[in-house]
Amino acid sequence: MSGFISVRNVYFKYDENENGAEQGFALNGVDLEIKKGEFAAVVGHNGSGKSTLAKHFNSIYLPTTGDVIVDGMNTKDDDSLFDIRKKVGLVLQNPDNQIVAGIVEEDVAFGCENLGVPPKEIRKRVDEALKAVDMYEYRRHSPDKLSGGQKQRIAIAGILAMEPECIVLDEPTAMLDPRGREEVIDAVTKLNKERGMTVILITHYMEEAVLADRVIMIDSGKVFLDGTPREVFSKVELLKQHRLDVPQAAELNYKLRSCGLDLPECVLDENECAEALMKLLGSR
């Protein structure tokens, strides 16, 4: 069975006149299947093509060659444009630039209004979406006075209110402080775990990627690694070659293990690491 979203041999080149400079392919033959209900993290350094890929999932960009199929619909098909965007919502990096209205709840309603949802139904969806990201009490506030993390959660609520089946987040935490990052990631994880929403999280923070079911590593517009966080983060050397960070816990574990200490193949966070080290040191 094919996935909810399938990316088939996609190549993508930006218009040359857009930046003036000569450019190669931003995506260089990507093949990917995203299943329903999955929480996938896409990692890669700046310019690796990860953001370009994110914008293919809801037909903001169209492949130069190859196809992206969302729930049976080709993103190149003009007639299904709105159906695709209704199913796959995209949250962008800069929280300030994606809020349209001057009042939180009115902004969250924006997508539903465009879809022509009846007013009563919009009200219900907006309240629900705001509660899902824990921003209900701010519904009458102006977005200017909120923190980055709060604004980003409002952007997420704006997508949620459209009741999509999948939410794609393009580096939603890159411009936030640690607290804001935590708020946003908590909200996203909750959506996946409690509502079974398909989540594709584009990020360069490995502590965030660790929380996903699946980590997809991209470099030079190609998928290099694709597996569970445990599989991916055990390949410390390979990740470093591709100019990526490894969580400090995983790195420490890897280094000690290479020295012949009896440790698991991979640990993902500080608790796992401390536990493994306890076992090792305590048993001696």
Binding site: R179, L244, L252, L256, C273
Partner: protein, 285 residues
């Protein structure tokens, strides 16, 4: 001698109105010439306000800031001189680029200082090379550069003023690991070569732990700690209480310590942690 001395600094916004807010609340400290100071604190802790006070962009309500022993607000008309001596790189500095060429943009500060053309030329080239921008970049438009290159150009625009104290507010925000590491090591090199004072404001504990000598911890407009990195991070629980996260490696050591394993909790880098655990594991065999 201390290059910056801050005494009982206080900044109150909108004093006397119902919106009165104390942004900085009685902060005192000294920074030695040539020191590399890190300032941490979460958003709203006053850290960004504090550095804007240091270079005279904001004027304190109470207290004194001395630069090389002289009160910077002694002659308010001369405050521009202070801004040349205390160079300030703001968050996302690439958004301040405006000239036609990178060269002209880096020259903006020195030009405002009224330097001669030769001197400006020398400074621009030096500053550009410090931030890793070769001569081939200088005649390009700053708007054609990549995100990371723009940021370097913007930082060079402050370095070119050759300030006694260089302040960088979140210089690595939004960069990927590669860009972040490259920029931090360039800042470190700058510090090592120029032997000038550098102040790095960040909420990334990992970054700060790696390169600074001492760390100033801010919370709610107050100074909470000012100590060496090792000493600050050994007080991990206190840091967590004020909403700061310690580096993961330090956290691992803290967890081990809690479980009764005698490890040093002032570990800052993976390398140190690795050595610590390794020696412990080997010695207990």
């Amino acid at each position: 001698m201390s290059v910056i001395k801050v005494e009982e600094l206080k900044l109150i916004y909108g004093a006397g109105t119902p919106f009165q807010k104390t942004a900085i609340d009685g902060v005192s400290f000294e920074i030695e010439q040539g020191e590399f100071l890190g300032i941490i604190g979460h958003t709203g802790s006053g850290k960004s306000t504090l550095v804007q006070l240091l270079n005279g962009l904001l004027r304190p309500t109470e207290g004194k800031i001395c630069l090389n022993g002289k009160d910077i607000w002694e002659k308010p008309k001369k405050i521009r001189e202070v801004r040349f001596k205390v160079g300030m790189v703001f968050q996302y500095p690439e958004y301040q680029l405006f000239e036609e060429t990178v060269y002209k943009d880096i020259a903006f500060g020195p030009k405002n200082m009224g330097l001669s053309d030769e001197e400006i030329d020398e400074r621009v080239r030096k500053a550009a090379s410090f931030t890793g921008l070769g001569d081939e970049y200088l005649q390009r438009s700053p708007f054609d550069l990549s995100g990371g290159e723009k940021r370097r150009a913007a930082i060079a625009g402050v370095v070119s003023m050759d300030p006694d104290v260089l302040i960088l507010d979140e210089p690595t925000a939004g960069l990927d690991p590669l860009g972040r590491d490259a920029l931090l090591s360039q800042i470190k090199t700058y510090h090592d070569v120029r032997k000038n004072t550098v102040i790095l404001v960040s909420h990334s504990m990992e970054d700060i732990a790696r390169i600074t000598d001492r760390i100033l911890v801010m919370n709610k407009g107050r100074k909470v700690m000012l100590d060496t990195a090792a000493n600050v991070f050994s007080r991990g629980e206190e840091l967590e209480k004020i909403g700061l996260r310690v580096p993961q490696i330090t956290k691992i050591m803290m967890l081990l310590r809690q479980k009764g394993i005698p490890v040093d909790t002032s570990v800052l880098t993976v390398e140190q942690g690795f050595n610590e655990i390794l020696s412990l594991a080997r010695s207990s065999v």
